[in-house]
């Protein structure tokens, strides 16, 4: 995808401060006063600081850029380069962390909870397992499988480097057990080269959630909201591993991210490389999807994470769904059918959580398993009364 005329590049934190508005940047030059951090993907001018919403619904401090060379095509260094096992550098973890921060690499989405936070914590405690979470649980949209098939060598190399640096016993590359044998064979070759094991899982939504993944693979009880490193495992996904690989192997900053777009109006899936900071609206315009005539959701569809007008692509969710706008049918009272309880993957009690939300009763919410809810949205989807269970639980969590 060509660079849009404006980018709003989110930063992981408001410190250090960005360069003042009006500063002209060359390609690859940092946006910040201090060296490192997010950098400009082309010759551009800083036009200000913003607060924007990311694709996971979080708000982030951002730097707005006006691009001078809008026709520049996105590319990843990994596309042109190859790497062999012998080329894998040996780095220590603080060195890796420095390099990633310098390259502006970060990720914080359901499949990769705060990558930099995990690495920071990993410097202080032992990590025995690295998990590359390449599960795609929405069959028409398979970003992890597509990225792995295109950039498998970089992804596996990155995992190999991290494994060495952390002195981890195991590195797992988790795949849907239904992937084509040819892809499995190709990935097995990379896995062998980099000392990574391939783990096959029957994929059921929301299996890719770190809590369920750690429970399935390692029988470790990771509470939602906590980092997997607290249980000795580092979790990242294909896109994050790709960014890490590009940074560690080729010293490339994270200027672009692979994005998967599912257009449910045309029943098409598209995979594009978009510059970090591309507004979702511009991305959809380029894909000839009219965002005004469709509802846009980011991340897992059932999580019902609605994109707002200023949502930008970055280090958070890389899946975008466009649906025909639906008229919201009114909810009816709970009939105690128990389907939400029956289908909840974490075995919490969504109906009771809704009641707790209505009564603003935190004690009742905790007794119904509030802290174990992974906000997958199955309860809202399955509810015959169409009650806003997931959104009520989100409200409870911030109460």
């Amino acid at each position: 995808m060509p660079l849009p005329p404006r980018l709003i590049i989110p930063a992981r934190s408001p410190d250090p401060k960005p360069k003042p508005a009006g500063t002209v940047l060359q390609k690859g030059q940092s946006l910040l006063e201090s060296p490192g951090g997010p950098s400009a993907p082309a010759r551009s001018k800083i036009i200000g600081e913003r607060i924007v919403s990311l694709t996971n619904g979080a708000l982030a401090y951002s730097v707005a850029l006006e691009i001078d060379a809008p026709d520049a095509e996105s590319s990843l260094a990994a596309e042109q380069l190859t790497v062999s096992a012998a080329d894998l550098p040996t780095m220590d973890l603080p060195g890796i962390l420095d390099r990633l921060l310098h390259s502006g690499v970060w990720a914080d989405r359901r499949g990769v909870p705060d990558l930099i936070g995990q690495l920071n914590r990993a410097c202080k405690r032992p990590i025995d397992t690295i998990i590359c979470n390449c599960i795609d649980h929405e069959p028409p949209l398979r970003p992890n499988t597509v990225f792995a098939s295109h950039f498998g060598h970089i992804i596996f190399s990155a995992i190999g480097v991290l494994k060495k640096a952390m002195n981890a016993k195991t590195a797992l590359f988790v795949l849907d057990q239904a992937v084509p044998p040819s892809l499995h064979e190709a990935l097995s070759h990379f896995a062998k080269e980099s000392g990574v094991q391939i783990a096959l899982l029957p994929v059921r939504y929301p299996q890719a959630d770190p809590t369920l993944l750690l429970y399935s693979l390692l029988a470790r009880p990771l509470k939602p909201g906590f980092l997997p490193v607290e249980h000795g495992a580092l979790v990242l996904d294909a896109a994050a591993a790709l960014a890490v690989g590009n940074s560690l192997l080729f010293d490339q900053p994270m200027l672009h991210v692979p994005v998967a777009v599912r257009d449910r109006l045309r029943n098409e899936s598209q995979y594009v490389l978009a510059a970090v900071g591309t507004p979702v609206r511009d991305l959809l315009d380029w894909l000839e999807i009219n965002p005004d005539r469709s509802a846009v959701f980011c991340g897992d569809l059932l999580a019902q994470n609605l994109a707002t007008a200023d949502t930008v692509v970055g280090a958070s969710e890389l899946k975008i769904h466009t649906l025909p706008p639906s008229s919201d049918s009114p909810s009816t009272p709970c009939v105690r059918c128990g389907w939400c309880v029956d289908q909840c993957p974490m075995a919490v009690h969504p109906a009771r959580l809704l009641e707790a939300s209505q009564q603003e009763d935190k004690h009742m919410a905790l007794s119904a398993g509030l802290e174990y809810c992974i906000e997958c949205g199955i309860c809202s989807y399955i509810c015959p009364s169409q009650l806003p269970l997931a959104s009520s639980i989100r409200k409870l969590k911030v109460m």
Binding site: L201, M346, P384
Partner: protein, 407 residues
């Protein structure tokens, strides 16, 4: 070579590919809920149409029309009227028809038929009562008491003699015959067959046959010590061997019963359809059937009835051979509307608890209560009374047996 391993997934969630059918729309709603339930009821109702002909379907049509009319009227009455939903009322009317005897449009029994019975009035009266109960309890999910159970038990209370079916179409006249056509040369075509209905080869002079004492009556008469024999005494072996109809008639169909509960196989197929569509939980019918069966073996029943009294013993402790014990329990299971109640009523929202453990405990309680009421109160209506009481336990079960988070 890299090691490949396939650990088991932690949970049993639905595959998303199966869940997202509506491309982002709601997964289920009440429209689909009722439509799928109605589709599930097609199987037992079809069996009813085959066994009882057009008169059974006329009962259904009359029930639907009456329910529609009364619902439209009661929707305008008070604030509660707004909670009445036509699809729900229609679904309950279908369920109620499945619980009604097929002879309501024929007459109370043959004597009434000759006299020109007026039992058809029970159908609209039942529908009026159903809508009234629905209005009072507030619709699906609002009450722990099923409005249909209240309706059915009230009807039984007032019209008990009219709720024992005795007529069934002959195999050669199934579906097309007339249930009222049972008299030939001023004589009723009675039958106490030894051979199963499905295998009968004789050519009867009438479309329907009359069975004076149906299986449910035989069983409750036996356990209530009212079973009369010429010799003055009867044992459980004698009951099973001589008094009961062939078990196939209860399993496949061919023995008089409620319109939707006469063929156990059809009810089970309907229930399996609801299970397949994910509308009901398998735990309740499965656990309840097992517990009921076990309770039939363990609860004291008369091993033999003499002129001087009866020997009450659990069947497993009585000197009765295993085949007889199992056959007796099978008759108890098949002669009552137990399966219909388990698949179509006990799984209703708000009647059963929400949690998995609570559902299992509920099913155990329901199974025990059903066996007790069936043995000592009424084979035909015991399961409904049991469900009425078990439903009252649901809030307590939900509170006591809370689901525990996965981790």
């Amino acid at each position: 070579m890299s090691q490949v391993f396939s650990p088991e997934p932690a949970t049993s969630q639905p595959r998303l590919s199966a869940v997202i059918r509506s491309e982002g729309g709601g997964g289920r709603n009440f429209g689909r809920f009722y439509v799928v339930h109605m589709l599930g009821s097609v199987f037992p109702l079809t069996a009813g149409a085959i066994l009882y002909g057009w008169r059974a379907m006329a009962v259904l049509m009359m029930a639907l029309a009456s329910t529609l009319f009364f619902t439209l009227v009661w929707q305008r009455i008070g604030r509660r009227g707004g909670s009445l939903h036509l699809p729900h009322a229609i679904w309950l009317a279908i369920l109620m028809t499945m619980m009604l005897p097929p002879h309501l449009l024929v007459g109370r029994d043959i004597k009434d038929l000759l006299a020109g019975g007026t039992t058809w009035m029970i159908v609209p009266a039942a529908c009026l009562l159903l809508v009234l109960m629905l209005w009072l309890t507030g619709g699906v999910g609002f009450s722990r008491v099923h409005p249909l159970l209240l309706t059915q038990l009230t009807l039984v209370l007032f019209f008990y003699p009219y709720f024992h079916p005795h007529l069934v179409l002959h195999r050669t006249r199934m579906l097309t015959g007339d249930l009222a056509n049972v008299i030939h040369n001023d004589r009723i075509t009675e039958s106490i067959r030894a051979e199963p209905w499905i295998a009968s080869r004789d050519e009867p002079p009438t479309d329907a046959i009359y069975i004076p004492r149906v299986a449910s009556q035989q069983l409750i008469d036996y356990t209530q010590l009212r079973h009369g024999t010429n010799s003055g005494w009867i044992s459980v072996e004698g009951l099973v061997r001589d008094a009961m109809p062939p078990l196939e008639d209860l399993v496949v169909g061919g023995h008089p019963g409620p319109i939707g509960a006469s063929s156990a196989i059809a009810v089970i197929i309907g229930g399996l359809f609801l299970l397949y569509r994910g509308l009901i939980d398998y735990r309740i019918p499965l656990v309840a059937v097992i517990i009921t069966f076990a309770a039939f073996l363990l609860l004291p029943v008369p091993a033999a009835i003499h002129e001087t009294g009866a020997q009450w013993r659990p069947l497993v402790l009585a000197r009765v051979d295993l085949a007889t014990i199992v056959t007796f329990a099978n008759y108890e299971l098949m002669a009552s509307p137990l399966l219909l109640m388990l698949f179509f009523l006990a799984t209703s929202p708000s009647i059963c608890p929400m949690g998995r453990k609570a559902k299992v405990v509920f099913a155990i309680a329901l199974g025990l209560l059903t066996a007790a009421f069936q043995l000592y109160l009424s084979t035909s209506f015991g399961p409904y009374v049991a469900l009425l009481l078990a439903g009252l336990l649901s809030p307590w079960l939900d509170e006591t047996f809370r689901t525990r988070p996965l981790i």
